[in-house]
């Protein structure tokens, strides 16, 4: 391999890591809605799959994952680590990152009342009974990139939703309790704050079943992927 090629591969690897760092930064400063435009491919087959959600394919569908109201008392943060980036023969990278996440919603403690649909997702309660969410998450991000107009963009993003638990609980104890809200959580993740267009079915379903899903369970072996 020539020195130029080695440098190009290292630069591409750094570019992939910077792309994901921008993803994490935008998500944590209330600018998640900017992520599709800034970072995702406009290819018709660009996609997001989160946990058991199944794939949401195409820019309008994947954008619903990010289109959320910014409300007082909501905060999320992704701490990406363990990057493993490989460069294909075409010079385009793919990679995996592990992510420790913080997902907060003040819920009924906020000055802005939560809507009824999000109430099941408020998994903690203050002494006065007010419900809120303060959860840890552990995830793995699988990312295929594509180069468009010279810029590296996310082509396929799959988030393996390994663990989540309220901060006053633990992952093992919460592993079964979370089943009750997993479905509602997936629905909320792919609910946009934008209204459905006229003349289309007002539902946002994935374009297929899950390609892979694993979440922690007391009887589960670690995932092979």
């Amino acid at each position: 391999m020539t020195q130029e090629k080695r440098i190009a591969r290292l630069e591409t690897r750094a570019e992939a890591e910077e792309t994901m760092a921008r993803f994490a930064r935008l998500a944590s400063c209330g600018r998640g809605g900017d992520i599709p435009e800034a970072l995702f491919s406009r290819r018709a087959d660009a996609s997001i799959e989160y946990g058991a959600s199944g794939p949401y394919i195409g820019f309008p569908k994947l954008s619903t994952f990010f289109e959320k109201d910014v409300r007082p008392g909501r905060f999320s943060m992704l701490l990406l680590s363990n990057p493993a980036v490989s460069i294909g023969a075409d010079g385009v990278p793919r990679g995996t990152w592990d992510a420790l996440g913080i997902d907060l919603d003040a819920g009924e403690l906020s000055s802005t009342a939560p809507d009824a649909q999000t109430l099941p997702l408020l998994t903690s309660a203050a002494p006065d009974g007010a419900r809120y969410r303060a959860e840890w998450t552990v995830q793995r991000f699988l990312v295929d990139f594509v180069r468009e107009d010279g810029a590296l963009r996310i082509w396929h993003l799959q988030v393996l939703d390994y663990l989540r638990a309220p901060m006053d609980s633990d992952f093992v104890a919460f592993a079964r309790a979370r089943w009750a809200t997993d479905g509602a959580r997936l629905d909320a993740l792919f609910t946009s704050n934008r209204p459905f267009a006229e003349g289309v079915l007002p539902e946002n379903l994935p374009q297929g079943g899950s390609t892979f899903h694993w979440q922690y369970h007391p009887d589960a072996l670690p995932p092979e992927q």
Binding site: G51, A52, P120, W179, G208
Partner: protein, 331 residues
């Protein structure tokens, strides 16, 4: 004869839904009696004192699957869960039950599975899986599943764009009916004598009457319900318990079409109060028909009198009703 009915309403988990609602219809008045927590109870089936429901989601008990739930129905119409099992596919969208098995169609993955249940209502893992590869260019997906006479099972396959008939015990395919012309089959109902299957197309909204003839399906009549361009399309078809009428719901415009069963002549067209009728169901005696108005979070009831159906009761505050099952209240 009892004049009270329990109406079980399965709802989608939106807008604060509390799962499965039990309404009491008494003297023409509707009232909420009970709710039972359930996630996306998108389809219900009654068999005696047991109610079965799908959990129409992408995840169930930690797996990438939907679920099947079994309930004992108490005399007061409340529910007690007796069994639960992963449906073996995501977004199970329809189910039916005979005396020993619950048959479930999974939208994603296109597999139909039979889950045995015992006399306590405990569900066992699937004893039968029907899994046919789709035709080229079509999705691996199913829609409606329902019981047919003589131990058969009907399955609406979107992978074949056809109604497929199987042997309920072996899963062997017996017959198929493909409507063709780009028609998209969705739901079907069977006449009380078991001789006719009414197959409803989603869009365009069209009803086909099929004779069940020695295990084969033969088209005997068809009726286009509307030539309007539809977004939601037709949703559900039911046959009156006396077998004389077929009722079809079309979500756009909240329309209900009442057809004569023998020749599919349209006898009555009703615009229902509310929006988006997702399901309709007759009371066992045919005196009443309930409609789940998914877009207006309400259930309405029509009374059958003088050969016509007329709206007689309505109840709001039921988020996204998607499925109905009715029974007469036990004396």
């Amino acid at each position: 004869m009892s004049m009270e009915y329990d109406i079980f309403v399965g709802t989608n988990s939106v807008r604060g839904s509390r799962g499965i609602y039990t309404l009491r219809l008494s003297r023409g008045q509707l009232a909420l009696r009970h709710t039972h927590a359930a996630y996306n109870a998108g389809y219900l089936a009654l068999h005696g004192r047991r109610l079965f429901a799908v959990s129409e989601g992408m995840t169930f008990d930690g797996a990438a699957s939907g679920g099947v739930l079994a309930y004992a129905v108490r005399p007061d119409g409340s529910l007690r869960e007796t069994g639960r099992v992963a449906s073996g596919g995501q977004r199970p969208c329809c189910l039916c039950a005979d005396a020993s098995d619950v048959f479930v169609s999974n939208f994603y993955g296109g597999q139909c599975r039979a889950f045995p249940y015992d006399r306590d209502g405990l569900l066992s893992p699937a004893r039968l899986t029907i899994d046919e590869a789709p035709l080229p260019g079509l999705p691996r997906a199913l829609h409606c599943v329902g019981l047919l006479p003589e131990g058969r099972l009907g399955v609406v396959s979107l992978g074949q764009m056809a109604l497929l008939v199987y042997d309920r015990m072996s899963g062997a395919r017996i017959a198929a009916y493909t409507p063709g012309d780009g028609l998209h089959p969705r739901h079907f109902a069977v006449s009380p004598d078991g001789g006719t299957v009414y197959l409803l197309m989603q869009e365009p909204a069209e009803l086909h009457a099929l004779a069940l003839d020695g295990g084969r399906l033969r088209l005997v009549a068809k009726r286009r319900l509307t030539d309007d361009a539809l977004v939601f399309g037709a949703s559900a078809v039911r046959v009156s318990p006396d077998g004389k009428q077929v009722v079809c719901a079309v979500r756009d415009g909240a329309r209900l079409y009442v057809l004569r069963a023998d020749d599919l002549a349209v006898q009555q067209t009703i615009t229902l109060p509310g929006a988006v009728p997702r399901d309709v169901a007759f009371s066992p005696d045919g005196q009443f028909l309930a409609a789940a108005m998914q877009g207006s979070d309400s259930v309405c009831v029509l009374r059958a009198a003088d050969g016509a159906l007329r709206v007689c009761a309505e109840l709001g505050g039921i988020p996204s009703p998607a499925s109905l099952a009715l029974r007469e209240v036990e004396p």
